[in-house]
Symmetry: C2
C-alpha cells in the first residue's frame, strides 16, 4: 500500500445513527446488522451511536471538508480497523460479528484515475494472496447482482477452498461519483470549475485467515506458508535429564543464532515436555519446519528435520542446516501454492449444458459456463443450484456461445461456484 502512495489513518469507531441511517436506509438488510450504543456516560444518549459496520460515511464526510482543490487529489488513505456486523450464524474467521480488516478509501480528479486505482488494488491483493499466502486466486469483475451496491464496478479475487467451494478473498470497488454526490465531495479543477471527485474503496479482512486454514490445513491442524509463518522453524530440544541436556540447549541456541542471521524466524522449545507432545503442538500450529535435537544427535553432529506439509523426516548435518532450511522454506512455499493450484485446475470444469452444470456444481467444482448476462438467469441458477457468479474473470477469452441456462447468446464464460 505504502509503495503506491497510500497513507494510514484512523477514524472513529462510533458513527451517529441518524447520519448512518440517512445514507444506508435504502440498503436492504443493513439495519439488522447494526450494533447500537444507547447508553454511555451513565445515561441514555440523545443520539444513539452505531459501532461502525464500514466507514464510508465517516470518512467521506471528512473528505468533503479536506478536499477543496485539484491539488488535494489524489487522496489515498487506508485504515486498519475492527468492524461490527451483527451475525446470527457466525462461522469462525469467515463470518463473525466482529472482524478486523483494512479499508482503503481514495478520491481522484478523473474517472480514469479511479479505475486505474481500483484495478491496481485488486492486482495487489492477487499478488499478496498468491506470493505471501500461497493461495491461487481468480481475479475478475463481479456481476451487477454480486457487486457492492454503492459501486459502479466491483473487482474481486476468488479462491477455491479444499472442499471445492469459493471464498471471496478481497474486493476493490470503483465507486464512481456515487458517494461524492450525497457527501458533496467536490474540488475546484485547474480551470476553477467545481467537480465531484471519483472514488474507490478496497478491503481485505481476517476472513483471509479462514482462507489460509481452509486452503492449506490438514487433519493434523494448520499448515502455514513459510512467508507468513510467525515461526518458520521450531527447534525442539529432546531432554534426557542428564548432563548432556546443557549441550543440547547450547547447540539449539547456536543453530537459532545462525538461522536468524539468515533472516529465518526461529523459536526454541525447551519446555520440559515429551518430544511427542511438543511435536504434536507445533504440528497443530502449522510451523513449516521442525528441527529435533537431542544428545544422540549432537554425538552424530546431525539433527532430524521434519517438514510440516509432507511429514517427511531426514537427518542432516548441523553445518548444512542454514542452506537446507532456506531452500526448504522456499520449496514448501512453492509446493503449497502448486498443490492448491492443481486442486483448483482439477476442479475447474468447462460446462455447456445445464444438466452438466447442476451435477458439476453439486460436486463442488468451479464451473466456467456461458451466461446471458441477465440478473434473472443469475438468480434462477442461484435458486436452483446454490451457485453464484463469483466473477467474470479478467482472463476470460472472447468466445461465442449459448447461455447454459437460457440458451441465449453469450460472448464470454463466467465463473460459477458455491461460495462461503
Amino acid at each position: 500500500f505504502k509503495k503506491t502512495g497510500v497513507v494510514n489513518a484512523y477514524f472513529p469507531l462510533f458513527i451517529a445513527k441518524s447520519f448512518l441511517v440517512k445514507v444506508y436506509e435504502h440498503v436492504e438488510g443493513f439495519s439488522p446488522e447494526l450494533a447500537i450504543v444507547t447508553i454511555a456516560g451513565g445515561k441514555e444518549l440523545k443520539e444513539p451511536l452505531v459501532v461502525r459496520p464500514t466507514s464510508e460515511t465517516i470518512i467521506y464526510e471528512a473528505y468533503s471538508r479536506w478536499i477543496q482543490s485539484h491539488r488535494d487529489l489524489p487522496l489515498l488513505i487506508n485504515q486498519w480497523a475492527n468492524i461490527v456486523r451483527w451475525e446470527l450464524r457466525p462461522r469462525l474467521f469467515l463470518r463473525t460479528t466482529e472482524f478486523l480488516w483494512q479499508e482503503g478509501h481514495t478520491a481522484h480528479a478523473t474517472a480514469e484515475e479511479a479505475e486505474e486505482r481500483t484495478k491496481m488494488m485488486v492486482n495487489i491483493y492477487k499478488e499478496f494472496s498468491e506470493k505471501y499466502l500461497a493461495i491461487p486466486v481468480i481475479a475478475g469483475v463481479k456481476s451487477e447482482s454480486e457487486k457492492f451496491a454503492g459501486a459502479l464496478r466491483t473487482y474481486t479475487i476468488e479462491a477455491m477452498m479444499q472442499d471445492g467451494k469459493a471464498l471471496q478473498f478481497a474486493t476493490s470497488h470503483n465507486l464512481g461519483q456515487n458517494f461524492a454526490k450525497p457527501f458533496d465531495v467536490k474540488f475546484l479543477d485547474e480551470n476553477g470549475e467545481s467537480k465531484f471527485v471519483w472514488q474507490t474503496s478496497w478491503g481485505l479482512s481476517t476472513r483471509s485467515i479462514g482462507g489460509i486454514i481452509m486452503t492449506h490445513g490438514d487433519d493434523k491442524g494448520l499448515v502455514l506458508p513459510p512467508m507468513i509463518a510467525p515461526v518458520q522453524v521450531v527447534i525442539i530440544c529432546i531432554f534426557t535429564g542428564y548432563e548432556a541436556d546443557k549441550e543440547v540447549l547450547e547447540k539449539a541456541e547456536e543453530i537459532k543464532g545462525e538461522l536468524e542471521k539468515n533472516g529465518v524466524r526461529v523459536k526454541i522449545d525447551k519446555r520440559d515436555k515429551r518430544l511427542g507432545e511438543k511435536s504434536y503442538e507445533w504440528e497443530r500450529k502449522g510451523v513449516p519446519i521442525r528441527i529435533e535435537i537431542g544428545p544422540k544427535d549432537i554425538t552424530n553432529d546431525s539433527v532430524i528435520l521434519v517438514r510440516r506439509d509432507t511429514g517427511s523426516k531426514e537427518a542432516i548435518k548441523i553445518n548444512e542446516i542454514v542452506n537446507k532450511v532456506k531452500g526448504l522454506l522456499e520449496k514448501i512455499q512453492n509446493k503449497l501454492f502448486d498443490k492448491a493450484l492443481k486442486l483448483r485446475e482439477d476442479k475447474t470444469k468447462i460446462v455447456d449444458s445445464y444438466d452438466d452444470f447442476k451435477k458439476t456444481i453439486e460436486n463442488n467444482n468451479f464451473v466456467l459456463a456461458h451466461w446471458d448476462g441477465t440478473a434473472e438467469t443469475e438468480e434462477k441458477i442461484k435458486q436452483e443450484t446454490k451457485a453464484t457468479i463469483r466473477c467474470i474473470p479478467f482472463d476470460s477469452k472472447e468466445e461465442q456461445g449459448k447461455c447454459v441456462y437460457s440458451g441465449k447468446q453469450s460472448d464470454k464464460r463466467v465463473l460459477f461456484a458455491k461460495a462461503y
Copy 2:
C-alpha cells in the same frame, strides 16, 4: 515485545455487561465510563454488551481455561486494540472517548517472575520513549493512591511537557494474585499442587502521540523525531514552468533513490504549488529535513537543506547529500532529546519547605520533595496545590529528611507535579 517472548493476540471488543460489572462494581467511577450496546441484530439485547474499557476480564477468563499446568507458564500475550471510556471533557490525544493502545497481559508461576516482568516492561517503555520518541522520562513506582486499583504495585514513566506539566507515558502493573483469585486462574505446579498464577499488565496508548506533540512541537507545528518520522526527508521540487523542470524531477528521483538505498524514508513533493506553500505544509507536519531543489540548484550541483528543528538552511553539494542527511538525522534525534532533557533538568527543583513547594508547583515545575508516605498528606497536597505524586523515582537516593507538608520523618524524595 517479541524479543522478550511476547506474542500478539486479539480479544473481542464486546464484553457482557453483567460479567464486567461483577468484577468492577467496587471500582468508583467505573460505570459512567462505559458505552453500552443495548440494541443489535434489529432488537433489544437480553444481555447488554459493554464496549471494552480495558480487557482484563475477557482475557483472564480465557487464561483460566488456557492455563492448567506449570508447563503452560509463563503466558505472555499482547493485544493492540481500541478502547472506549466515555469522556465528558475530551482533550485531543490525551483523553478521548476512543483511544488506541497495546495492553500486555502475562501470567507466571512465581511472584518473583511477575515482578521481573513488570520491571522489564517499564524499562522497555523507558527505552522506547527515550531512544525512539526522544522523550526523556523518569521511571519509578506509583504511590498507593496513584497506582492501578487492581495492582500490588504500578511502575510508571513520567515525562515533562514543554509547559512543565507531567504526562504519564506508560504504566506496568504487578497484579500479584488480585485477578487470579476472582478469575480462578490456577495451575498445577511440579509437585501436582494447585496454585494461583501471578500476573502483570502493561500498556502504552495513543496518548504518547500527544506526548510527542507537546514535547517537541513548536508554534509552526509538529517536530517529529527522525527515528519515528514516517517521512524523514521531503524533497521539494521548485518548478518554473520551463523545460528544466524535467531535470529537477529526475534529479529529485535520483536523490530519493540514493537516500532510500541508505535506509532513509523519503518523499518527493512534485505538486504544482508554490515553494512557500509546500514548505509550510511539511514544516507543519514536522518532517525533520526538507531538501529544496530547483533549476538553479542543478546548475550549481547543489541543493538547499533545511532543518525542521532549528530552521537553519544550508546549501550542500549533491554528492554529499547522503552523508549529510544520515548524520543530520542522528544529530536532530539527539538534539531533540537533549533539549527536552535540559528543560526538565532546569525545571526540576529540590524543595524543602511547603511555601517553596507551592510557589514552585504553581510555576509548573517538577518538584523533588520529602513526603511522609501517608495518603492523607498526599491528598491534602493535591487539594491545596493540584500537584500529585507522579512517582517515587527508581533512582531516588536514600536521604533522611522531613515531609514538606507534615514535617514527619522521610527517607526519600518523591516526584511531585501537576499532570495532564
